[in-house]
Symmetry: C2
Subunit: 236 residues, 2 copies
DNA sequence: GTCAAGAAGATTGTTGACAATAATACAAAC
DNA sequence: GTTTGTATTATTGTCAACAATCTTCTTGAC
């Protein structure tokens, strides 16, 4: 892989040539975000401005703003005079977030099923869902199944055409990746998940908004229950 | 020279005695928020850090953070190198936000109708909704009707017991106050609104979650359509 | 008169220093 | 041995100055 290497590009000491779409705080936030989502920073862990600033060779100002951005996404909690720490939601709070996602995914999928652009979308969905079924049957190494699910969700969220909804769902998705992963860890759950996606696809084909909403909600609720079960087992 | 003790005094005269629950950026954000919601700052207006800093006699740092807080609530939009401006959503965007509110209010009212605490809540609701009906029939000066509606919504949002939902709905409510006001400006709409609230109350009495959700959604959608109608007329 | 290029001004972005507060370690008293 | 008060340290909060960038105004050519 030649391109990735994000670290080098983060701080471009002299950037008078490159327009650079992302601001410095955004770049820092993106890097910290990765670490939180991937678990490098554990829930509850304190993030100290000075450390981050030294590591990225910037002053504390941009780091502070980056932390505010992460707070907006619910990845850290900032307490006055106490700094930022990685959010550590209780099982109840995770359930709450899933409930909200269920409702908003319902809206999203209804909008798609009733929207004008669904014809273009269907072939793409068919392909991804087929790969999903395949991956569920023959689990490879890595997290390919999760990756496809996340991509499908991104695709649908963009396709719904409601910009604010996209923002909120994106934020909630980031907050629950960890738990979604947990909920999709067994073959049984993956098969159930595949069936849900197939039903959704059919509802979209039919242009049936009611069905699309109902299925979407059920899909997230299933995910919620599976995650909760694992969380309970894990914390006991 | 003893340190000047910056203008934290603006809002809390003596800080060494009072623990001060709100940080300086939060206080600034609260003040700016008022101005945006009340219309003192008009949609699209640019907010410049220096001006705010001078007015409140603080440096630009806290102002910057305050603006980030307002961005989190969707009250301003911050563009890199362009600063902050009061959000000026299009009719389509306002509709989008109302759609999201409809779904989440549905969840909220279902949670209440199916929740264990509804018995305590019902008398309070009865009282407020009675006052609502009264105010709709005999409109006084001021915006009492709107005030009661906002209070009812706050009450229900708190009662639902889903903390994240409370945060999101609070933010969305702030963003749409202006348009809610617009949508409730005619007697016809207020009467329709009162009927919706009464139906909701009945659903909560019955512990009927499905009905509560359905009515809540319809209530917000009615509000959305009324606001959109006025917005279209106003902008034409 | 219109448009383009450049200069001047205004505004945001970043930094390092200092102040205020919270967390910790330690000592003394009971 | 526990607890309380105090000193030390670590960390966040705020500020003012400087740098980078965007906007606006002026100037000149066509």
């Amino acid at each position: 892989m030649a391109t990735p290497m994000p670290a080098a590009e983060i701080f471009t000491p002299l950037r008078q040539t490159a327009p650079l779409t992302q601001s410095l705080p955004e770049q820092i936030a993106a890097r910290l975000s990765e670490r939180i989502v991937s678990g490098t920073y554990t829930p509850g862990q304190r993030i100290m401005e000075q450390n981050v600033a030294e590591e990225f060779e910037v002053s504390r100002g941009p780091v502070r703003e980056a932390l505010r951005l992460l707070e907006k996404d619910g990845l850290v909690m900032i307490l006055p005079r106490r700094g930022a720490q990685v959010t550590n939601p209780s099982i109840e709070e995770v359930n709450e977030i899933f409930d909200i996602r269920a409702m908003l995914n319902g809206l999203r999928d209804r909008l798609i099923a009733e929207g004008p652009h669904r014809a273009q979308l269907i072939p793409v969905l068919e392909q991804d869902i087929a790969r999903l079924a395949e991956t569920a049957a023959n689990p490879g190494p890595g997290d390919e199944y999760i990756d496809i699910v996340l991509r499908l969700n991104r695709l649908l969220t963009q396709a719904a055409g409601n910009h604010r909804l996209q923002t909120i769902l994106g934020s909630l998705a980031v907050q629950t990746v960890r738990y979604t992963r947990l909920g999709l860890s067994t073959p049984q759950r993956r098969q159930q998940s595949v069936r849900n996606w197939q039903s959704l696809l059919q509802a979209i084909r039919d242009g049936n908004g009611d069905a699309a909403e109902r299925i979407a909600r059920q899909r997230v609720i299933d995910s919620r229950d599976a995650a909760a079960e694992h969380l309970r087992a894990q914390r006991a």
